[in-house]
Symmetry: C2
Subunit: 337 residues, 2 copies
Amino acid sequence: MTISKNNKNITVFDVARQAGVSKSTVSLVLTESDKVSERSREKVLKAIDELGYVYNRDAAALRSRRSNLVGIVINDLTNPYSAQLAVGLERHIRAMDYMSVLVNSGEDFATQKQLVQKLKEYRLAALVICPAPGTDAAWVNQQIDAGIPVIHIMRDVAGARAPVVIPDNIRGTRLATQHLLNRGFKHIAFIGGSESISDFHERLCGFNQAVDGAGLNKQHITRIQAQTNRHGGRQAVIQALEADPLLQAVVCFNDVIAYGAIEQLRALGRVPGQDIAVVGFDDLEDSCRMSPALSTVHIDADEIGRAVCKLLGNKKDAVASEGRILVDVEFIPRSSG
Amino acid sequence: MTISKNNKNITVFDVARQAGVSKSTVSLVLTESDKVSERSREKVLKAIDELGYVYNRDAAALRSRRSNLVGIVINDLTNPYSAQLAVGLERHIRAMDYMSVLVNSGEDFATQKQLVQKLKEYRLAALVICPAPGTDAAWVNQQIDAGIPVIHIMRDVAGARAPVVIPDNIRGTRLATQHLLNRGFKHIAFIGGSESISDFHERLCGFNQAVDGAGLNKQHITRIQAQTNRHGGRQAVIQALEADPLLQAVVCFNDVIAYGAIEQLRALGRVPGQDIAVVGFDDLEDSCRMSPALSTVHIDADEIGRAVCKLLGNKKDAVASEGRILVDVEFIPRSSG
DNA sequence: ATTTACATGTGGAACGTTCCAAATTGTTAA
DNA sequence: TTAACAATTTGGAACGTTCCACATGTAAAT
């Protein structure tokens, strides 16, 4: 019924014949070389269009020993911030004429290892990783030594020879916390996050910097870790209130934690933003539209994408360029805190 | 400083020499053929390990004319359900030893076209698409004719010769609506969704089926379209209450709409789940943990993944197998409705 | 012993591109 | 007009695998 799939593919040779040039000239056009006359270029483009030729990346990658695939390993795609980040990254990477292979480690180092092992078989142009907890520097360096340019995002791996693009976490929570201190709150908690990842330490550090300088009673400062999801936020708020019933303000590890905290406060009959102030981190799309609108630290996912692409651009052949790109953050006060 | 990247790669030839067999035998091992003795297999595996050989997918794909890349085109990754779906799909696809290239169309048909054009250059094993609004059958069929096995998910494109995996939308909203009718509500609204996609029509159809059979006053049935995000949900609730101030229950196009609706009701001083019942569709991870816990229609993202993989398995060489796989849904009553 | 059958193993050719070095054409200066 | 040089074009080789047809070895059947 269907036309029996012709076994022969349309190749550069067919295009060349149709355009009346050599296969090499066709290749030059395809690779956007400037060593080709405008006249030939047009003939080739016309032939490509007429024949419906489609470029074969496999052959190109094989011969040129360079892929245009960029691997993106995300820690947890079901986290809205990660998803937002992934979308931003993907768009930028595509704009640079790379294609992104997006995979999800689910915060599991073993899965991450397996994934990267698979990805290596595609000779990636680069590997962008938001490292799962437990990622060790030795493993990362091993990948780099194997010739894969690795770029870390959002989280640092101490000792890894990979450049990292990371929001200014310390400044972010410091700003958020100072805002609460300025409003006169004396009983403050930092909730959420987990010890095994670097951003927790940084965000907590910013919190500590702010409260340490304020000369508050140590008893009135609470710190609670929790799973990074709504449920974690709810649990953490319960614990924080147990630790200090006079709690006035909560600095959350991120917006999702804040969402959980707000829900739990409400369930306990407290009015979030009024009885107890809540601030987040990430500035998810929903955060400005919810009620109360969430005060939070804004990270520009787009700027992270741009920074990654700048690194990608440098990656001509130099492997293992180090460096730390800090993406600026901004505290946005809204009605929740 | 760094060891100058050795220009020679480790290939099947190196492995063959190390193992004392021919390159062809190595290839047989790599492709997991059963035409190779256990003894040779072990020698080859040992050599691979010793040399740190990594398979070159580009070369393999070029020669065998078959890729193990599956393209996934998601309509909107920032939508939590889509993200959840993508994660499930990716995991299943990976389990079948395929690799997934995940891209995001952002609900834009032009973007979707560009993306697919790029993806074609990788000679995908299959293309899984959640079609953006405006996707027309002619375009889809053209891709299929070009030899790419297309599988649609979540949304139907009338006239396209592609199999589709879709939740039982009609049954879902019918069950949800019937639940509300059984509770005795007489003033009901369906809110959210947009005309340009098939699932809207199906979910609305389920709603209509249920209310039509109940012999209610037509004046007490409201239908409001809205953007598929929280904000859309909030707007829609406002409009629905304007249309029928005695509104008792709301059937939402999906959970995100329901989240917005609940927020807005609260902002208006109504207690969701008590003054006005709200039910959703999707059963996002958060839905069972929020308060009030959201009554909603559960779709198993995992089952969609499984169904897609079954289609993938069938795709030996048969292009354009049609068919419609309906994934079962379940109404889960919770406290919101 | 001789054939038959079957399970394994093998060396070339091929996949569709890019690279390279050399050839051809076009352009400017002497 | 020609030499010198730059711009453009080109055919063969190469990238690392799989396919194919055939060779070899081993066991069973004659």
